[in-house]
Amino acid sequence: MVPTNYYLILSAILFGLGVLAFVFKRNVITIFMAIELMLNAVNLAFVAFSRALGKSDGEVFVLFVIIVAAAEAAVGLGIIILTARNRRSLNVERVDLLKL
């Protein structure tokens, strides 16, 4: 039996690494992937609590998070493709003006 704390600590570490990747990477797609990593860390915490309490409510919420993340990835990547085509660069530091 693995204590719940182990899973929560792992979730916190993964979340922190996701924040690091979000802040320090310059490619907009990599930043988006860091968001997915943070969502995954949160999913892990949900499932850990769900199994610890014996109910399946947490797992239902994890399913919803996965579905919403998939929808968000689809639309977000569409936006990224359009923006990248307009500015011809995937570097977020070049997207610092409202005007093209």
């Binding site: 039996m1 693995v2 204590p3 719940t4 704390n5 182990y6 899973y7 792992l10 570490i13 993964l14 979340f15 922190g16 690494l17 996701g18 924040v19 690091l20 990747a21 802040v23 320090f24 990477k25 310059r26 490619n27 797609i29 990599t30 988006f32 992937m33 860091a34 997915e36 990593l37 995954n40 892990l44 499932v47 850990a48 609590f49 769900s50 199994r51 610890a52 309490l53 399946s56 409510d57 797992e59 239902v60 994890v62 919803f64 996965i66 919403v68 993340a69 998939a70 929808a71 968000e72 689809a74 639309v75 990547l77 569409g78 936006i79 990224i80 493709i81 359009l82 995937l90 570097n91």
Partner: protein, 168 residues
């Protein structure tokens, strides 16, 4: 050290190493591959906890559809390696220690808590399987959000189609 704890540490180490690799790799496709490894490791952890359906859905949807979308976009946009621009030194020398301190404080707070919950991987004898329990919840108590997510996916599909249209 039971077998469960050993497997937990192996999968946790794999997940953390893959996340570190996501940060350190220069080409976005290698970061995408690292993220896929993280997701598979997390699916293994869900299996260890006994949530089999969530583990399978994680691999099928997240690892097999969302990440494929990422990989396709990286291939289509021909994203090259990251440039080495140094717009801010404060971020590097102030940011990394702060981010590590954030996760360290959360982890320490959790470790010091006196909660006695333990995740039980196996259901009791005669209990219904976790998939069945999950589906009963999903289709009885949570049926309204479930139908709403189908609308959400429809809206996302429409949005993606509109965004991907060529300008005429």
């Amino acid at each position: 050290m039971t077998a469960s704890v050993i497997i937990f540490f192996v999968l946790a180490a794999l997940a953390v190493l893959a996340s570190v690799s996501l940060i350190l790799q220069r080409h976005p496709i290698h970061s995408a591959l690292s993220l896929i490894v993280v997701m598979v490791a997390l699916a293994g952890l869900y299996l260890l906890m006994g949530a089999e359906f969530v583990a399978a859905v994680q691999i099928i949807v997240y690892g097999g559809a969302v990440m494929v979308l990422f990989v396709f976009v990286i291939m289509l946009l021909n994203a090259g390696e990251e440039e080495r621009t140094n717009f801010s030194k404060l971020a590097t020398f102030g940011g990394i220690p702060l981010a590590l301190a954030l996760s360290g404080m959360i982890a320490a707070g959790i470790a010091r808590s006196s909660s006695q919950l333990a995740t039980s991987p196996a259901t009791a004898e005669g209990a219904i399987s976790s998939t069945r329990q999950l589906s009963m919840l999903l289709f009885k108590d949570f049926v309204y959000p479930f139908e709403l997510t189908s609308f959400l996916i429809l809206i996302a599909i429409l949005g993606a189609i509109v965004l991907a249209q060529r300008e005429n």
